[in-house]
Symmetry: D3
Subunit: 192 residues, 6 copies
């Protein structure tokens, strides 16, 4: 597969590594494009198809709305927004702010949370998730048994806590990929 | 599934969330245990079986020695060691230091790299990978086109670079999970 | 003047110090309210009328569109957005993102800049202003003659540079006041 | 107005932007020079007369000894010294250390406070102001209702607290201007 | 004395300043070599014989096993390991990890402590020493009377505490010397 | 030896560990007191006589004006002032600012350097020493061969460089001891 790589963040390229030639995409990558609305992020990952496959599969499972999930999808989107804002991944922040707005059917509140979650109205359970996500992101070595006790006090059991931790940690992976690639936020995110 | 959770890092528990009751493990989780030598990390993740499944599948693919991989397995282990040391995930550091030693058939050199990669003898390509992994970990917002040019100068093409980035970012996910859970390094790592 | 102080950020209060009783406002403070559209920030400052007066006068002069100003109003709003995002003052960020959108008649571009100015299309002169504003905010002790030379190369003379520096520094003042007070962003900012 | 700009911090220039030609000063700027003893800082700001005007007016009001002020002038000078030392603005630190010494009629104590306020004898009210000023300077996002409660316990009402916050924040503005300009401390500060 | 200085960390040189010509060593420096097993660190310091003498004498006294010492030698080695790991001085970390292993006759436990002392089994007294050593290293300005009270509660008297502080601080000296010189860890450290 | 320990930094005690009973001092410690003018720092160290002995001997050798020294005493005092200001050890800063003033027979210039060495007139050799001392203090892991080349370009040979490094590192030891102990600056430092 040839890659039309360009490096300038000020160019028309969607990322520092460009994107693959669409005509020569493997069939399953084409399906990943469709499932993800041809978004810039999946096109940027397709420069290495195995990366796109692994990443797409993990993300689809972690954010599925079906059986197996422990936190509500709105709670997982809340963590996504807060970690992405903390790390300064604008692409991830706006993607998940809109997704959170859809889940809670309140885009204004979602934007308030993205702007500064300390000033947004959060439930005690949401506050516990937000505080944990920030700590795992910024200073994981300071996480202690007390943090787990706070989450239990907010009603989470052990499997819930592990999913909250996994979701928080996951965005430290995705944020670094998209920040480093310099993937540009899609125009559609600014159309509303 | 019931979880025998204990919180004290000084207890006999392998993690702050304990581990699931082995008798009631789903069959595929039992296979994950086997594939990963019953290591503490997979037992700690099994508190939430879906987390263990997603994590295990991604890790197995990213560290496969088969077709599709772009970097050598030794290079991926090098990145694993350097990012884990940078983040202070002792469990991950020692796990991958031993794996790196096996890949390069030189455990002394692997331990030198884990101890301080600045003082270890690295090839220019290894140095480029190490510098990139550290930057992605510590300050991803400062990654620029220059970093990609350095990797190209060291012989990597775009798909290779994305795999190097993915591997570096991935350990910012795994390190945070195991640091936050407080998973104890297995005794076997200290037996040699 | 009596102050209806409340402390909870989760309460109906607009700030940690509340706001003054509107019936007993001095006349000139009432005019400041009007001139600033009754926004939360001016009501929060009015707890100490002299603070509101000083702050209002400086801000009105620095952001005047009349004679005396060196940078365009759009450039001053650009600096306001970038410094406020850097410091994490959500109230200031959204206030000036909307003002920037009005100045450049392109709200989508303004939101792109607020989200991550590294990925937004900026002119070389805007990039020089943005880089300077970030450095003055984060690490002023590292500012050197080279930074002034970059601004001159982008077309600024000495009086322009001092205005750019003053504007960048000013938001390190205003951001700290509104962050510390916990002033909530007005509902109108989320209505569009 | 022509500006005799020089860039070397090691030159005879008082700042990286030089100072305006004294013969062509507007009349009101000449008065600002007089009111501020021809100090380097006002001459450096006069490169942009509007900056000098705005800055001079705010500073004169905030540090007035007349009606309207809530904290004693000594308390405002204490905050000025502590914030300036924290930010490493030597010019501001020595200027306000001497001013504090004059207010409390004890230059040795003022220099002790500037050197390390943790080891200087402070009253509980002064300690509360010092701790708040340091927090607002270093980590404003961590300010919480508890900090306001501590100030109230030290005897401050809401208007007093806002003045303490305004004074602390203000020096994050002035410090950045003078650090970035590289304004040299006047010889007179070292003559005693 | 002539010095065979080379600068490349990738060369055969043991440090960025090389080492002195062995034939022309002063007699007492030759004895220092012998007392310290010809280790790289003493050879690197001998580039300035007075540095080697001062350093050797202080170190020999601080780590003597004889009369005068307040903490056990194992406790002093514990502090050495923890501070060196904190600062990232690989040479110092491995040197003292082996020495600690010998003192406690348990190399596996010593390596567990070096890898991540939060996950190693420490006694309450050891935990108090470890926490103090980390704080003195990272943020000495935050040390307060509370830290001294914790050490007293763990059974240390004032002279013991000062020795713990001295040992912790000392490795902030030695770590900086060996990190800056880039002294390579001796091969023998990796032979086991 | 009994110790009159008091903990309050606001008490009459000279340090958080107090000082030993003067009547029961060993003879050689009494001589150390005399040699160091009964300064607070030596009295604070005497709580553990072996600490006082080791520390006093190293310091006397490193700051001797006799044979063996490579840098001038003024250059060593310059490093002492800059590192102590960087670490925020007020006691060490003022002690060595006065000593530097005596060595260069210019107390005003010494105070200018202590206040902000970036704005003080330094020779290129002094600037090279200052930059190196700051880097060794703040971020030793970033020291590279380039830093050694800069020092050589400023006229230092290898033994000189090691003495500059040793002096810079030493104050990271002494600063931590006196900061952690909270030793109060002697009154005499403020009498001039």
């Amino acid at each position: 597969m040839s890659s039309t790589a360009t490096l300038g963040a000020d160019s028309d390229s969607i990322s520092r590594l460009g994107e693959p030639d669409r005509a020569s995409l493997p069939a399953d990558i084409g399906e990943l494009y469709q499932a993800n609305h041809d978004d810039n992020w999946i096109r940027a990952l397709a420069v290495n198809p195995d990366t796109a496959r692994r990443f797409g599969a993990y993300f689809a499972s972690l954010f599925s709305s079906g059986r197996g999930a422990r936190l509500s999808l709105a709670e997982r989107e809340l963590i996504a927004v807060i970690v992405s804002a903390e790390n300064g991944c604008g692409l991830c922040e706006i993607h998940h702010t809109i997704a959170l707005g859809e889940q809670i059917d309140d885009h204004a509140r979602a934007r308030r949370i993205a702007l500064d979650h300390h000033l947004a109205p959060l439930s005690p359970r949401e506050e516990a998730l937000a505080a944990f996500a920030v700590k795992v992101t910024r200073a994981p070595k300071t996480v202690s048994g007390d943090d787990f006790r706070s989450l239990r006090a907010a009603g989470l059991d052990d499997a819930d806590i592990l999913e909250a931790l996994e979701t928080s940690s996951w965005f430290n992976h995705t944020n670094r990929i998209f920040i480093s690639l310099g993937v540009k936020p899609d125009d559609k995110f600014f159309a509303r």
